[in-house]
Every structure is written in structure tokens, then in C-alpha cells.
């Protein structure tokens, strides 16, 4: 694909990610932290996030599957997941984690399982998004272009259309 349209698609895609709340400002900050000395920083961190999250998710499902659920443990895991998602700016995962934690406090196993499902879904969604993003970046770089910097902030509010 041509460089220009690749760049446009990258911008489009990123914009959509921000607009739809998959990512927030924190991701932009991560990108800013990346420089010549640390060219793969974002990728590293995100990969770390993927590994960590998958581990946590497995742990969570195992914990919640048990007869007697250790909610403290669940809470700790969710907290961890929340922290890491906040760090990379995976906003929607973070939001779901917050709701998940509330449910944990209520010691509601069923609710927790439901939320786990939700978190898992959000996680895989954001994962695929980020992977696509990285692939695009790679393609742009391979085409000899520079990855556009998103210097604007999308209005992060999602229209609530409740008529």
C-alpha cells in the first residue's frame, strides 16, 4: 500500500481508538517516552502488558472457578490488571476493572465471573487493536515513512444517546 494512504489509515485508526475510548492520553505519553535511546519502548511495554494480563486473567478465572472464592486475591489481581491497563492507557480495560473491583467488594461470584468475561473481551479487543496498530507502524516504517504523531486530543466523551 502507498505510504500516504498507510499514514492516513494509521491516523484514522488511531483516531478511532481514541474516539471509541480504547486508548487514552496515557498511550500518547508512552509514545512520547519512546525515543532513539528506547525505540521499542511502547512495544516492549505493551507486550509486557499482554503477557502480564493474560497471566492475570488466567489466574482470575482459576480463582473464581474455585468453590470458595478468595475475593481478596481476586481483588488484588484485578487491581494489578487495572494498574497495568491504566499505565498503557487501555482505558476500556481499566474502566471494566474498576467495575469489576466494585463487584469484588460485594463478594458476588456470579457478577465477578460476568465481569471477568467482560474484561477478557475488552482485553482481546484492545490487544487486536494494538497489534494492528503496531503492524501499521511497521508497514509505515518499512515504506520509509515516519509514523505520524497524534498531537491532538480527541474528545474522549462518547456520546450518550439516550433519547
Amino acid at each position: 500500500m502507498e505510504l500516504g494512504s498507510l499514514q492516513r489509515r494509521y491516523i484514522d485508526f488511531t483516531s478511532a481508538l481514541f474516539r471509541e475510548g480504547f486508548l487514552d492520553n496515557q498511550y500518547t505519553q508512552l509514545q512520547q517516552l519512546q525515543d532513539e535511546s528506547n525505540p521499542e519502548f511502547v512495544l516492549e511495554v505493551v507486550t509486557l502488558f499482554f503477557e502480564d494480563s493474560e497471566k492475570l486473567l488466567n489466574e482470575l478465572s482459576r480463582t473464581l472457578d474455585q468453590q470458595v472464592v478468595d475475593f481478596k486475591k481476586v481483588d488484588a489481581h484485578v487491581h494489578q490488571l487495572k494498574g497495568s491497563s491504566a499505565s498503557i492507557g487501555a482505558q476500556r480495560v481499566k474502566n471494566v476493572c474498576m467495575a469489576f473491583r466494585n463487584c469484588c467488594e460485594e463478594r458476588n461470584q456470579e457478577g465477578c465471573l460476568r465481569w471477568l468475561q467482560q474484561v477478557r473481551q475488552e482485553y482481546f479487543l484492545v490487544k487486536s487493536k494494538l497489534e494492528t496498530l503496531f503492524r501499521l507502524e511497521k508497514q509505515i516504517l518499512a515504506a520509509g515513512g515516519s509514523v505520524p504523531v497524534l498531537c491532538f486530543l480527541w474528545p474522549t466523551h462518547v456520546e450518550t444517546l439516550s433519547v
Binding site: 478511532a16 528506547n38 516492549e44 488484588a76 494498574g83 491504566a86 509514523v147 498531537c151 486530543l153 433519547v163
Partner: protein, 1141 residues
């Protein structure tokens, strides 16, 4: 009417119908009253007329009487004159002195006249009064009219209303009676009754009239009679004076006859007078001798009944009597009774006896007069020889009697004559009766009619108490029916009926119209409800469609993220774009529904207008780029960087307008410009140059209609913007321009076929603009293009203390750079310059090649600040594709002129709408570093420039606060404690970036171990929530540890050297928390932490937190700690007082 409407609004017609029954009765009464009033009025008029007639009659009678009396006096004088002519002067004087009584009578007469005058006056008064009364009525009518005019207009209206209402009611009623015969009968009955009552009034009045006339006639007759009687009396005195009072007598038969004949006009009603002498029997012989004839006996009872063949000589001499009354003098007309003894007639004898006893005139009963066959009476006066006192006894009177004067009255003539003199003789029938004998009254005058009609009886006193006379008066005709009143009332009734019918018809019509109105209103309500239902339906359905559509779109996107071949990806992209279009449509419909139901509310959040414009243009750039359409945006520098408003809605408006422009533009340009409203007025007028060279419409015409432009005085922080979107599209047909803002209306039905779209965009935009307190307008000419302009009011976000987006380090790299924009079209150059200026680059603009090359060469030789960093050349700067060859031109110039080192030449950028692959390929060889595609965007420009100039983080670190933070943190050993590897990594990386040396610990325990004094950490960033040991606990233990060391040193158990020569260990621990709740912060401070930073790091906050510790030497840590304690104490006090308060 209003009352009726109320009843209709109740929707209860029956009620209204029932309500009519009462007014019906009222109306009936009203009608009746009206009729009777009319009738009364008519009768009044009638009565007045009658009374007038009567009054006139009375007046005439009085007049007549007066005249008569006057004539009488005149006659008297005339009689005197004739007497004088008959007698000598001496005798006359004697006569005059003797006839004092007569004179007295004259004076009496005068007196009577005088008495009558007041009556006349009175009658005149009455007439006058009547007239006055009438005029008074007229006046009152006038007054009523005046008061009517005097009413103020509204009152008059109310009056009219009331009248109309009354009339309407009466109409209803009239119509009611029109169809209800019973009602009619009833009314008629009532009518008749009233007429009857009226009739009674009339008869009364008639009777009264009759009485008056009858009395009047009787009195007049009496007067006339009395006058005649007085004459006879006067004659008696004359005889007594001149016959008996003189020796020898001055009167003989001849004189008497002459005198009486000549004064007969005074006694028109008397057939004749005669004088009979009283002769006693003893004197009979002598008397007969003296006169030479015998006293004769009356042949018949009534001597005055003269027959033609009457011969006095044939009469027998009178038998012997005590006394006789032979006629010695007589008028010519009755000369046949001379020598007849009046005492011989039974009736005459009684008459004579009574006359001489009373001294008054005495009447006989009526009898037929011989000659005229009229009824007549004989009047007898006694003549006394001496002057009797008025109170003389009958005996004295009898003794003093010397003779008798008799006169016969022709009663019918008298009455006839009298009646002839009076007006209205035809209306009245007069009968005169002698009622001395009550059982058999003798009719003296008048027709013999046995009429049952009313009559009046007046007593007539002829001065003789022994005879009773009566006058009977009756109307000749029956009273005529009061035609005028009847016709008036009938006319009124007819008019009332007609008007009633009209009003009934009108009422029906009104009712009909009201029914229609009610129906319409119901329909309207239904329509409105339907509209609301439609909106709700739209909203619901739209919302329901959106949800699955989002799923479809999301899945499509995910599908596109997977490995697809080119065709599959194309399909997926097409499906996605279709889905997006559908979503956009649904959103529009939803917006419309929201706007219609008034539920759309605007946000007020800070936003960057320039970013939005960049993005909107970028989103639409695909098609224009392919078509070679120029797209540019230019925002005035006066517009604040940050505005507060609804960015989403603003974006929507811009998207709609730009989208329309893109849709309808095939060549030329699309230009978006934003100014402050205040500046818009001063925008260069008559700027004929446009972005692409195509003609555009004059946008200033739009502004003329904006009230905002005219009156732009706003609140302090209000920013009124004027946004203009100009295109060179197909334009809007003139006839479609009026409905352009109407929902679902497009310029042409074919438009949607050609260009697609719902036609909602502009109507929504208009609503949104209005919500933003602005106005929208446009001007368009088919074939030239359209320009849409709108105003909107925002708040200035820069005035508030809001974080500026431009603190973005990516953009601060270009601060202070210099650039030259070379473009033949200044407006395009301006747009390019606008973007560069946003980056903080100082921009020069050169519009022609020579000045451009000169400037470049001049500035190249300059050093330092004046150095030119870059040159931006438009591809079409001086015509199609001419920009590409510009560097070559520059090189040529340089080769010709002074040699300037290649490196010192500024970097050249080509700004282009479209570049073919070959052009891209040739770019480097042409002397350009890179190309920047239009529409220009800040991010694109900055990325290009950064790449070309190699500016990046190195530059970035030298600028602003990041540099300060860098300065603070450089070389510092920092420990990051976080159990989360990602957080740890991110935090570490961020801190590293600012030059710190970062060590990581993954748990609180590890941190405690690492922070065991002596250590070489300058600071510790600790996560609060960690498994096993959280940040608070770790901090507490670290502080305990530090205290223990301090104690050890203080107590001398440990040497200072053991702890790195630091007596006072206090490592600054900053909590890392995502929690912004104050309680957590307080907890942080309580457990010995020094401050907190928000996670993820924000430069500003991080700097402010870190600065507190590193602005001082670490050796001054003690002072810092003391200071902090004091601060805490004071804070404590403050909070304590706070709670107290």
C-alpha cells in the same frame, strides 16, 4: 358569544341547549314588553292626538264664548243706541240710572268673562304643558342618545355585545315562537289583553273627553240662555222704567214693537216678547175702556203656539177672574197675543205666579211652538213698580208687581246654533231633556237615538229651580280601533321575527364554524401527538438500530485487523463505510429528533478549534485530493487557542458544511476561515483573489443579515466566532434556497440521487448554531459556488486556568524557527503560514519568485536568529506545477551570484494537493527535502519538519519545564517501587527520560531492604497498593528504620561513618497513586510519605512534587524536613480551626 364558546369548550352541547330554555322565557317577556312598549307608544301618540283635538275644541269653545260675550256687550251698546234713537235724552238718562241693575249685570258679565279667562289661560297652559311634555319626551330621547355617545368605546363595545347577546337570545326566542304555535297563541292572548287594557284606557279617556265636552256644552247653553234671560230681564226693567215709571207712559205698543224688533238680534233664540199688564178685576172695566179691547181668554193652553189662521178677534172674552194679565205690548212676531189674558192659560198662570213671587225668570215646560213646530219654553219675568230690595218677601213682590214680561224660547234653535258654533259637533250627539218629571223626561232637543253607547249627563240650570234640565251627550261613532298602535306593534313584531330569523341563521353558522373549529383543534392535537410519537419512534428506532450497527461496525473493523487479502479487505472496507454512512444517518435522525423534542443540550468543555478544523478537513481530504481540489483552513490569530464549548457539536456543524462543500464541488477549492465576529467586519474587502483562482460568491452579503455582526457587544470572556466555509461547487438553485434549512429538504429531489444524503445536515446545523447563540446564513450562485457562514459564541478557555494543550512537547520543538512561505497566491500562503505559526515558527511570506529568492539568499547569509530554517513552496505557486522547479531557480541564482554553502541553504518543502508517483520520485532531485500534502495539518507538518530537520527529543529537552525537570532529576538515584511490572517499567522509563538513574523494586519488602541506610537513593517513588506489603506500611517501616539509625548515631552506638556521614536519614518517599481522593493523600502524609504523584505521571505534577525536594541540596534535607513539619503543624491548626468553625 364568549359564554357560548365556554360551553362548547366543555364539549357539552346539551348543556348549551338546556341553557336556552330560560333565556327563551326571558326573551318572551322581553319581546312582550317590547311589543307593549310599542303599543303604548302608539296609543300615547293616539291619545295625544285625541287630546289635542279636544284641547283645540275646548280652546275653540272658549274663544267662541269670549267672542259671544264681547258681541253681547256690543249688542247691548247697540241696543242702547237704538233706545236712544227711540227716546229723548231725558228719558235716556232716567233709563240709564234705572238700569243700574242691568249695568251691574254688565259688570257681572265682565266679571264672568274675567272668570273665564283663567280658564282659557288654563287651557292654554294645558296645551302648552302638553307640548312641553312632548318636547320633554323628545329631549329625553336626545339625552339618551347623548349618553349613548358619551359611553367610552370599550363600554360601547360591551354594550353592543350585550345588545347583540340580548338580540340573539330574542332571536332564538322569536324563532322558537315562530315554530311553536302555542307560544304564538299565548303571545297573542297576551297581546290582546294588553290591547284591551289599553282600550280601557282609551274609553276612559273618551269618557273624560265626553264629560268635558258635555259639561262645556251644557254650560255654554246655560250661559247663552242666561244671557237671553238677562235681556228679557233688562227689557222688564225697561218696561218698568219707561212705562210704569213715567206719567204718561213713554212706551206704547208701537214703541215697544219697534224697540223689540230692533233689539231682536239680542235675543236670537226668542221667537218673541210680550208685556202683559197686571190688571185686577176691579180695574178691568177701566182697563178695557182705556185700551178699547176686551181682555180675552186664551184659546188653547199655550198662547205662544201661534197658528197661521189665528185670529185674536174670534177669541172669547176672559171670564171673570181676580186679576188678569192682558198683553198690552208685544213684538211683531207675537202681536196676535195682544189683549189675551195670560192668566187664563194654566201653564202661563203658574208661570206668572211663580215669576212674580220669586222675582226671577221662570220657565214653562217645553211645548211645540206653533210656527216652527219646534219645542219651546216660555220665560216669564215679573215687572215691579218699585225698586224692591233684593231680600223682599214673595208677598211684597206680588204686591209690587205691575206686569209680566214673557218671552218664548226656541230651544232646538238655541242648541243648534250653539252647537254650530262649536268644533267637533260631528263627533258628539247632544240631547236636551226637561227632567222636571223624572219618570217621563221631555226631549227638548236632539235625535231620538236609543244607542247603547256611553253617554254623559250634565245638568243644565236655566235659572228656574222648578224645572230640571239635563243635557245628554254621546259620541256619534264608536271609538275607532288604534290602527297606528296595531300597525306599529305588528311591524315591530315582523321586524323582530325577521331579525330573529337572521340571527338564528347566523347562530347556526357560528355553531357550525365552532364545531369545525373544535374539530380542527382535535385534529391539531392529534397531529401534534402524532408528531411527538414520530419523534419518539425515530429516537427509539434509531437507538435500537445503532446498537447492532455498532456491533457490525466493530466486527468489521476487527475483521479488517486480521490478515485479509486485497479483495477481502476492499469488501470489508466497503461494508464498513456503508455501515458508517448508515450510522451517520441514524445519528442525524437522532439529532433531529432530539432537537425537535428539545432535549439536545450543549456541553461546555475546553477544546482546540484548530485541531477540530484540521481533523475535519483531513477526514474529507480523500476525495478533494483525488480531484485536485484545494482545501485550506485559516484561523485568525485573535481566536483563542482554547475555547470552551461543545466540540462535538461544533465539529458536527463544520463536518456538515465541509461535507456538503466536498459533495458538491468538482473543481476549485474549499476554504474554511475563522475570525472573531468583531474582526470579520474588517476583513479585507474586495479581495478578488481566491484560493484556487475560481470565482466565489461575496460572503459579506451573508453577514449583512446577521444581527450579531451589527451588535457584537459580548460578555468579558465570550468569544464570538465567525466561521465561513467557501466552495466553488455547483451552487444552490435560487428556488431551493429558501428551504435549504428545512429538515429532509434538499435543493432538488435529484440531489439525493446524485449526491446522496438525507437533507438533515443543514437543518441540524442551523439548530446547533442557534443553540450556540449564533446565526447561520449562506449565499449561493449556481455555477459559481456557495458560501456558508455561521457565528457561534464560546468562552475563552485561555483566561481560565486550564492546562494548555500546547504544552505538548512535540510542538514546542519548533519555537523560534524561521520559515519562508513562497506562493503566488497570498491567501494560500496565508493559510500555510497560519499552520506554521501554530508551531511557533516565525513566517515570512514571499509572493513572487524574485523576492522569494532574494529573501532566501539574504537570510541564508545571516546568522543566528535571523537564519532561515525552511522554505515552503506551493506546487502551484505560480501556475500549475511551477513550484517544483523553484529550487532549481534558486540554485541558478546562487551559482550566478555569491556562493553560499550548500548546508546553509534552508530546507525546502513542497506543499501540494496531489503528487504523482513520478513527482514524488523526482522530489529529491529537484532540491526538496520532503513534500507536505494538503490539506495542511499541524501533525503532518510537524512530523515532516521534524523528520527533515532532525529535531526531536534532544531539542525538546532544552525547552521549558521538561528541561527544568531534567535539571532536577539528572544524576539522581531514584528507586521505583511497584509490584506491577508494566507500571514499574513505565514509571522507570519516564523518570529515566528526565535523566534520573532508576532502580526498580517489585515489592515493599524489597524496597525496605534497598532503603536500609546507608544507601544512595535520592528519592523513592512508591506504589500505594501492593500485595503483601502496601506502600504505607513499607514507608512506615522505612521511617522506623531511619529513626533507629538516628537514635543509634545519637546514642553513639553507631558511628556516623557507618551511615555515609549522614546523621539524619530521610529519604523522600513519594506515593504513586491513581487515586485522586483526598483521604488517600492524607493517609500518605500520615504514614511518613512526603508527597504523592499521580499515576500515570504528568510532567507538571511530577515537577512540582519533585522540585520540593531537589531544589535544595540533599544535605539540607534536615532543614527541609523541619520546614515540612512546621507546615504540617500549621496545616493541622488550620484544619482544626476549620472543624471548629
Amino acid at each position: 358569544m364568549s359564554r357560548r364558546r365556554v360551553s362548547f369548550s366543555d364539549g357539552n352541547q346539551c348543556k348549551g341547549g338546556r341553557r336556552w330554555s330560560n333565556p327563551l322565557v326571558v326573551l318572551f317577556v322581553f319581546c312582550c314588553v317590547g311589543c307593549s312598549i310599542c303599543l303604548l307608544w302608539g296609543l300615547d301618540v293616539y291619545g295625544i292626538l285625541e287630546r289635542k283635538v279636544r284641547v283645540r275644541a275646548l280652546g275653540d269653545e272658549k274663544e267662541k264664548t269670549l267672542l259671544d260675550q264681547y258681541n253681547l256687550s256690543k249688542d247691548r251698546v247697540h241696543a242702547l243706541a237704538s233706545l236712544i234713537s227711540s227716546l229723548n235724552q231725558e228719558r235716556f238718562y232716567e233709563c240709564m240710572s234705572k238700569s243700574v241693575a242691568d249695568e251691574r249685570l254688565g259688570s257681572n258679565l265682565l266679571h264672568a268673562l274675567r272668570e273665564q279667562r283663567p280658564e282659557i289661560d288654563q287651557s292654554q297652559d294645558q296645551q302648552h304643558w302638553d307640548r312641553e311634555n312632548m318636547s320633554h319626551e323628545k329631549m329625553s330621547v336626545e339625552i339618551m342618545q347623548e349618553t349613548h355617545q358619551f359611553f367610552p368605546e370599550p363600554l360601547l363595545n360591551i354594550l353592543y355585545l350585550v345588545i347583540v347577546e340580548m338580540v340573539v337570545f330574542s332571536m332564538g326566542f322569536a324563532v322558537g315562537i315562530f315554530f311553536k304555535s302555542s307560544c304564538q297563541q299565548f303571545q297573542q292572548q297576551k297581546h290582546y289583553k294588553q290591547q284591551n287594557s289599553k282600550g280601557r284606557g282609551i274609553t276612559e279617556r273618551r269618557k273624560e273627553t265626553l264629560v268635558n265636552m258635555c259639561d262645556e256644552r251644557a254650560r255654554m247653553l246655560q250661559d247663552q240662555f242666561n244671557v237671553s234671560m238677562n235681556h228679557v230681564h233688562a227689557l222688564a226693567i225697561l218696561v218698568s222704567t219707561f212705562h210704569h215709571g213715567k206719567q204718561p207712559s213713554a212706551i206704547d205698543q208701537k214703541t215697544f214693537a219697534e224697540f223689540t224688533a230692533r233689539t231682536a238680534f239680542e235675543r236670537p233664540l226668542m221667537s218673541g216678547v210680550a208685556y202683559a199688564l197686571r190688571v185686577l178685576h176691579r180695574e178691568r172695566e177701566e182697563f178695557e175702556k182705556q185700551h178699547g179691547w176686551k181682555i180675552k181668554k186664551m184659546e188653547t193652553e199655550y198662547q205662544f203656539l201661534v197658528k197661521d189662521d189665528y185670529n185674536p178677534e174670534k177669541l172669547d172674552p176672559s171670564p171673570v177672574q181676580d186679576e188678569y194679565a192682558p198683553v198690552i205690548f208685544s213684538q211683531e212676531t207675537v202681536s196676535h197675543i195682544v189683549s189675551i189674558d195670560m192668566m187664563s192659560g194654566k201653564e202661563d198662570r203658574g208661570n206668572i205666579l211663580r215669576a212674580r213671587a220669586t222675582g226671577k225668570g221662570v220657565l214653562t215646560s217645553p211645548f211645540n211652538l206653533l210656527k216652527s213646530n219646534h219645542l219651546g219654553v216660555v220665560l216669564t219675568f215679573a215687572v215691579y213698580n218699585t225698586n224692591l230690595p233684593p231680600n223682599a218677601t214673595p208677598k211684597e213682590r206680588i204686591e209690587a208687581t205691575v206686569g209680566y214680561l214673557g218671552a218664548s224660547f226656541d230651544v232646538p234653535s238655541l242648541v243648534e246654533k250653539l252647537l254650530h258654533q262649536l268644533a267637533s259637533k260631528h263627533t258628539i250627539v247632544v240631547n236636551l231633556y226637561d227632567t222636571t218629571n223624572v219618570s217621563a223626561p221631555i226631549r227638548m232637543y236632539g235625535p231620538d237615538v236609543a244607542s247603547t253607547s256611553e253617554m254623559h249627563i250634565s245638568n243644565v240650570d236655566f235659572g228656574d229651580p222648578t224645572h230640571q234640565h239635563e243635557m245628554h251627550c254621546r259620541f256619534k261613532h264608536k271609538p275607532p280601533p288604534p290602527w297606528s298602535a296595531i300597525t306599529t306593534s305588528l311591524g315591530v313584531a315582523v321586524i323582530v321575527l325577521l331579525v330573529g330569523h337572521i340571527f338564528h341563521a347566523a347562530l347556526d353558522r357560528i355553531e357550525e364554524v365552532e364545531d369545525d373549529y373544535r374539530q380542527m383543534r382535535e385534529l391539531k392535537v392529534q397531529a401534534e401527538a402524532a408528531d411527538v410519537a414520530k419523534s419518539q419512534f425515530l429516537a427509539t428506532v434509531s437507538h435500537e438500530i445503532r446498537t447492532p450497527m455498532n456491533g457490525v461496525l466493530g466486527m468489521l473493523r476487527m475483521l479488517m485487523d486480521t490478515d485479509l487479502d486485497a479483495t477481502q479487505e476492499d469488501f470489508a472496507m466497503t461494508a464498513q463505510s456503508s455501515g458508517k454512512a448508515l450510522i451517520a444517518l441514524i445519528n442525524e435522525v437522532l439529532d433531529q429528533a432530539k432537537i425537535e423534542s428539545g432535549r439536545l443540550e450543549l456541553e461546555a468543555v475546553p477544546f482546540d478549534l484548530r485541531d477540530i478544523l484540521d481533523n475535519v478537513l483531513f477526514l474529507f481530504s480523500d476525495k478533494p485530493q483525488a480531484k485536485g481540489i484545494e482545501m485550506a483552513v485559516c484561523v485568525s490569530q485573535q481566536v483563542p487557542d482554547i475555547l470552551i464549548g461543545d466540540p462535538g457539536r461544533f465539529r458536527q456543524i463544520i463536518t456538515n458544511l465541509v461535507g456538503n462543500s466536498v459533495k458538491f464541488t468538482r473543481e476549485g477549492h474549499i476554504y474554511v476561515s475563522v475570525h472573531l465576529v468583531e474582526d470579520a467586519k474588517s476583513v479585507k474587502v474586495g479581495q478578488c483573489e481566491t484560493l484556487s483562482g475560481f470565482h466565489v460568491v461575496d460572503k459579506r452579503k451573508i453577514w449583512e443579515n446577521f444581527s450579531m455582526v451589527k451588535y457584537s457587544n459580548e460578555a468579558n470572556d465570550a468569544v464570538s466566532l465567525m466561521v465561513t466555509v467557501e466552495d466553488t461547487g455547483v451552487g444552490i438553485p435560487q428556488d431551493a434556497q429558501i428551504r435549504i434549512f428545512t429538515p429532509f429538504m434538499q435543493a432538488d429531489s435529484s440531489t439525493s440521487r446524485t449526491y446522496g444524503g438525507t437533507g438533515l445536515g443543514l437543518s441540524i446545523s442551523k439548530c446547533l448554531v442557534e443553540l450556540m447563540g449564533g446565526e447561520i446564513g449562506f449565499i449561493s450562485k449556481p455555477g459559481i459556488g456557495s458560501t456558508f457562514s455561521f457565528t457561534a459564541v464560546f468562552r475563552d478557555g485561555c483566561k481560565d486556568d486550564i492546562k494548555r494543550h500546547h504544552s505538548d512537547p512535540a510542538l514546542s520543538d519548533f519555537q523560534g524557527m524561521r520559515a519562508l512561505v513562497t506562493d503566488g497566491r497570498s491567501i494560500r500562503a496565508e493559510s500555510t503560514a497560519y499552520h506554521l505559526k501554530r508551531l511557533g515558527i516565525h513566517v515570512h511570506v514571499a509572493t513572487d519568485q524574485d523576492s522569494a529568492t532574494n529573501t532566501i539568499l539574504d537570510l541564508c547569509s545571516a546568522s543566528g536568529k535571523e537564519r532561515l530554517d525552511m522554505v515552503l513552496v506551493d506546487k502551484d505557486a505560480w501556475g500549475g506545477g511551477s513550484g517544483i522547479s523553484f529550487p532549481r531557480l534558486l540554485l541558478d541564482r546562487r551559482q550566478n551570484g555569491a556562493v553560499v554553502p550548500q548546508e546553509s541553504l534552508p530546507k525546502m518543502f513542497l506543499v501540494a494537493t496531489f503528487l504523482s508517483p513520478t513527482e514524488v520520485h523526482d522530489l529529491k532531485s529537484a532540491g526538496y527535502v520532503d513534500s507536505i500534502m494538503k490539506p495542511l495539518r499541524l501533525s503532518m507538518i510537524s512530523a515532516c519538519i521534524r523528520k527533515a530537520l532532525g529535531v526531536g527529543s534532544k531539542r525538546q529537552q532544552l525547552k521549558g519545564q521538561p528541561m527544568a525537570l531534567h535539571k532536577l532529576l539528572i544524576g539522581k538515584n531514584v528507586l521505583v517501587v511497584d509490584d506491577n511490572a508494566i507500571n514499574r517499567k513505565v514509571a522507570a522509563c519516564a523518570l529515566k527520560k528526565f535523566g534520573a538513574t532508576v532502580t526498580c523494586a517489585h515489592s515493599g519488602k524489597e524496597a525496605i531492604l534497598m532503603l536500609q541506610p546507608p544507601h544512595n537513593f535520592d528519592a523513592c517513588f512508591m506504589d500505594v497498593q501492593m500485595p503483601e506489603m502496601d506502600g504505607f506500611e513499607a514507608t512506615r517501616q522505612i521511617r522506623l528504620m531511619e529513626d533507629r539509625v538516628k537514635e543509634l548515631i545519637n546514642s553513639g552506638d553507631a558511628s556516623l561513618e557507618m551511615y555515609g556521614n549522614i546523621a539524619h536519614w530521610h529519604v523522600p518517599i513519594l506515593a504513586m497513586t491513581a487515586d485522586v481522593i483526598q483521604a488517600t493523600h492524607e493517609e500518605c502524609l500520615r504514614c511518613g510519605m512526603d508527597d504523592y504523584v499521580l499515576k500515570p505521571f504528568e510532567e507538571q505534577q511530577l515537577y512540582s512534587a519533585v522540585a520540593r525536594f531537589f531544589e535544595f541540596d540533599v544535605a539540607d534535607g534536615q532543614i527541609l524536613a523541619d520546614m515540612r513539619k512546621k507546615e504540617e503543624a500549621s496545616d493541622l491548626w488550620a484544619s482544626w480551626f476549620g472543624t471548629l468553625r
